[in-house]
Symmetry: D2
Subunit: 390 residues, 4 copies
């Protein structure tokens, strides 16, 4: 049985995902970076099929995934020919790339309204028959609705200021589930509040479908979570935390726009109080854009604390991390887990999944816990649900 | 009810422990660095009473804990007057400081045999009535016996090559328990195999007593364990691990002697395979002695791995850590937990305690697990045993 | 012979300078951090006399240097009683602390115009008879005039938007020199363009006086300069440079205001092209404010380059640096060197001094060179001028 | 005019040198990592011709440089076909690879005596007509003779304990110069004392030839030198220096043998006192062998100091450095500079060259200075000698 996937935002993450999954299928590379690869899961990585892709960048729309991949990762990776069979379609923009140096055009511009664009997506998906829609576009400004009516009115009114592209996609996924009776999974790995939006969660629950999110936990944040847990367990009193991130991919470029940066800062900072139990002074944000670093960001972290007898210890962490492959590895599990869970009757959202995979786990108000704890809780959950087989 | 403690090895750790516990009792300092301080435990930190202390360094024997503390930490900490009431007694040497620049003399030299020395200790402890004996002397070369008879014969023969000071102390603790009917706890936080020695575990079981050990998990090792678990959970393939440690306290001086260094290297390296599941190439050892660093060691760690799509990530950790207070903080929990457990019928050794607190957890052959996992398992265990109250 | 000093901006740097100089005079501390302390200079550190101090913070005006020092560094340093003899006077504000959480009032507010304020300063200095005026206030937005008339008109018109406090002080110093015939030194260690302002340099030249500046080179920038020179000399091709700075003193707070940050970014970035010969992509700025770090900032730097055979190397530097004492140490040389030079007929500005001590060395258009080169050139210059004696 | 080069020790450095020089000649790669590449020198990189190569490893003797390069760097670099024209010849061993996991056989074993082996080399060189002999074998235990007679007697007696391979090669180079009248350059970039050996320097002086050495300054040592100079110039008082090096190439494997490590430690430590003026406590050594790191070593350095007002600052440096290409880049200059100098009458050794390029610059007793200083002094020297043209 296949896990049919539609990708929203054919940037580096989606491209690494597409390339990596095909290479794993061919036996060309090990599934490193895929957390649950070593477990016997209901769906194997080999079952993943990418059936559609959306973007608003004129450089990508109409190209095949193969062409897109050759251009963006062709210098560092072999690109499988199988990616020639999927072509990037025009998606919804709603200003999500505004202010960035791309020539873009959204489906809503082409068709005259957001509502028309959403309907078009639903029609296309009825053809493509995806099980999972993955939202992995560039970080955009977005706010939760928390009220189904408010969300639907914003679509009706075509309120492009209020509505984010990720909300429009999530709503389209809901409609698609509703109209086809198919149980759909919407995986949101960008900071927009989707799984944390009561409105979205409610709609998906109603459609017997599942939304997972928000903001995929890769890079420095999950490591920081585990480091803070390490300190909390020893009752060391954290004096302050500084965490810098700098990179050269589109996401870092996007985050040099203050409004987008703010989105990220919130999801990154919530871990401090959740894990330590007090709000230790901290500076945790994407800090800058430096083109030559490309997708391999540089992270620097400083943490110090009071230990026994009131003395002070100090920790510095420096990393070079491939940003996009890390998230692509998580997606490889998320699409498989999502489909298996929704088939087993899980609907709305699934906190145990979000708690491990996401920076800001839904539902609204849910707590961050150390990733190591979340991992073992998720393992139990997946076994109990029968997603991981004995 | 008091937790009566005898300290073996009045070095920096024992001194930080004595000073810190007294300062916490006086409300002068918060119990930072004491992992379970925030839980309501059967014994409070205020219940800890230091009733005896042993050393073989002629500079210390006969001095009060106050005098020793003033000399070693008086420049950085206020030393409580209450420490004037305990005087350092002459202990067993058995070559444990051989090759180091100290003028030493052991009880066995004074009394003519190790057996006589052990008997003297038992006599003294019958007066002091300790609940807990803490072995926290300098790292010494030592090998497990694993056979009660072999251990007892070595004592009988006065085989000073084969016998380590920690074994002699552990045996004395056993005899003291046996002869008084008191349930005794022996806490070994140095690398010598004591809780991992079947012989010792068996004797303590027989005496309804408890041995905890070995090698207190402070500094870089438990952090490395949690970092490796973090990587393992994401299925990142670790290419190599380098970990350097350099400091200026007696333990680093001792470890510049190859034979002792070997002891430490073993306890430190066992984590790699236990946690990753494969023996990633590694270099993990105390690396050097540099006097001005004092007790605040410098640690540097390099770890790199393969992630999704076969790309490589890299992590560097640098720390300045107060070595002795970290271990002293653990002791503050260990003596309380030990007494509470032995009173609740736990005997032999207690893996759930060792798994969190020790680098090389007994019993023999037991596995290292990530500290964060061990922490939550220990929490459950202590609640179940009634050591932590609701 | 004394070196009579007036301090402008009684913040942490001025306070460390005052405390440190007095402690060195008393023999209480070695002159570490004073670059030329080991040379036999015309003026000894013992010759420095602080005769006046200015600030606009209502918490400081009217207090003695002793009171100010007790409050700001009394927890980490002994404060000499001799500082009771100098009282902080009200100085010129001109918006230099605008937007920061201080209650401030400038002399120009009290007297009705900037011109009146400048005249008041000149009167006071005629009493205090300083040889050296040191501008060490918080970073402020400022632009060069480069034209004497434009500067004088701005004062005449009381154009408080255009005029910076540092320009007003520099002009007052010029007038004071002019009217008394005294050869005066104005040392500017903040980013405002003063020694780089042709207008200021010209006025000082006319008054046989000397202006040194701009922006004292402490912390990460001079180290970066030397690291880049190290790479350039090996013909390693730098791919990018990232440098983060975070701290908890007033200067970092001020720099969280974008307009001020800009001032700093410029002086910090100019080194790249000057030393490498090409403008390697870089991100070099004060990054954030984190109160618990206090005056001991955290710096993280990442540099990578192409080496022989086109392979890539990578360097990460992390530092904890006491920000204010570093600059105070430089001031201890600057005031002595300044007075000695002006007495030997040097006027306008002195590039060899600025090239070593300043981030953005005057005169306008002057180049940054590696500090190590600048050091030896300055040593030669000082010997040739007779400031350092054989 | 060609610079004809013979390589002694066809390991990674010699291989990177051969591959890199050929690639630069073909215009395939820029001469990054070649310090003086940007200057107009008497000999261009294009003039370098490798005419011979020696090794004792049975895996290499008889193979072409092309075959050796394919095997050792073929996975990371394109290997030029031109390297097929040089075949590795059997060289002198004298125990220089003893204890390492290689199957080796020296010319002295084949021919019965060291003297016979030296004579054979001289014969071969008369055919190959090298201008420069480069000693770049694995670090070996070696001691200076300082007396010509003692050196010659050791050869005569075939005293294989006393004589190092590098001494034998240097002596062969001397004989070759002597017998042919050719002015020869011997470049020693391994720690053996050759340029620092009075005996060798004297012989080369007599033969109007030039010896440069010892121990090429790449990696952490020259950077440490410049960092220490940076601190010294600011009169910061260094409290201690820790420097760890770990790598996976043959040199690190060799250095895990204590006797060889000692050789390296000495050349590395001499910088501290030379530059600071006092012997700050330090731990500076190659620390370990970790195979997966390969030729790209990991370096970690900790330095801390007292600054103004007695406060303490702290610096940590971490690097990943390609070890062999760095040295190969230096060789690209050394062979050209050496030939140009010897032709201009420079004989014995040349301190200005050694001071920049070597960790332990000859002649015996010469001082280490900061590399940045040494660079500018060398630049002046080369201009003055006409080696760098206006």
């Amino acid at each position: 049985m296949a896990v049919r996937v539609v990708l929203v935002g054919q940037g580096l993450v989606a491209t690494h995902f597409a390339v990596g999954v095909e290479r794993i299928k061919k036996g060309e590379v090990e599934p490193y970076g895929v957390p649950f690869a070593k477990y016997n899961m209901v769906y194997d990585i080999k079952d993943i099929e990418i059936v559609g892709s959306y973007d608003v960048d004129e450089e990508k729309v109409g190209k095949t995934l193969y062409d897109v991949a050759i251009k963006s990762v062709g210098d560092i990776l072999p690109v499988p020919e199988t990616l020639k069979s999927v072509t990037v379609r025009r998606g919804i923009h709603l200003g999500s790339l505004e202010g960035l140096p791309f020539r873009v055009k959204g489906l809503e511009d082409e068709l005259g309204s957001t509502k028309a664009a959403i309907e078009r997506l639903v029609e296309e998906w009825k053809q493509l028959q995806p099980d999972v829609i993955v939202e992995v576009a560039t970080t955009e400004p977005a706010k939760a609705f928390n009220d189904v009516k408010a969300l639907e009115e914003a679509i009706e009114r075509d309120d492009r200021r209020r509505l984010s592209a990720s909300h429009a996609y999530a709503y389209a996924a809901y409609l698609y589930a509703k109209e086809t009776g198919r149980r759909v999974v919407f995986v949101n790995v960008i900071p927009s509040p989707i799984a944390r939006d009561d409105a979205v969660a409610k709609l998906f629950e109603e459609a017997e479908s599942l939304v997972l999110g928000d903001d995929g936990a890769t890079g420095a944040t999950p490591l920081t979570a585990d480091l803070l847990e390490h300190l909390a367990e020893r009752n060391r009193y954290v004096l302050s935390i500084a965490q810098f991130n700098i990179g050269g991919n589109t996401d870092f470029l996007a985050l040099s726009v203050p409004e987008r940066n703010k989105m990220k800062e919130e999801t990154k900072s919530s871990i401090v109080k959740d894990i330590l139990g007090y709000d230790a002074p901290h500076y945790i944000k994407p800090t800058g854009y430096l083109e030559p670093l490309g997708d391999k960001k540089f992270v620097s972290m400083h943490i110090w604390w009071k230990t026994f007898n009131g003395l002070e210890d100090e920790l510095v962490v420096n990393m070079r991390i491939n940003d996009s492959p890390a998230l692509a590895g998580l997606l490889t599990d998320l699409v498989r887990i999502g489909k298996a869970l929704v088939e087993r009757g899980v609907k709305g959202t699934a906190y145990p999944v979000n708690a491990f995979f996401m920076k800001d786990p839904g539902p609204r108000g849910a707590r961050n816990i150390a990733r190591i704890r979340a991992y073992y809780q998720l393992l139990d959950y997946l076994r109990e649900k029968g997603v991981i087989k004995a």
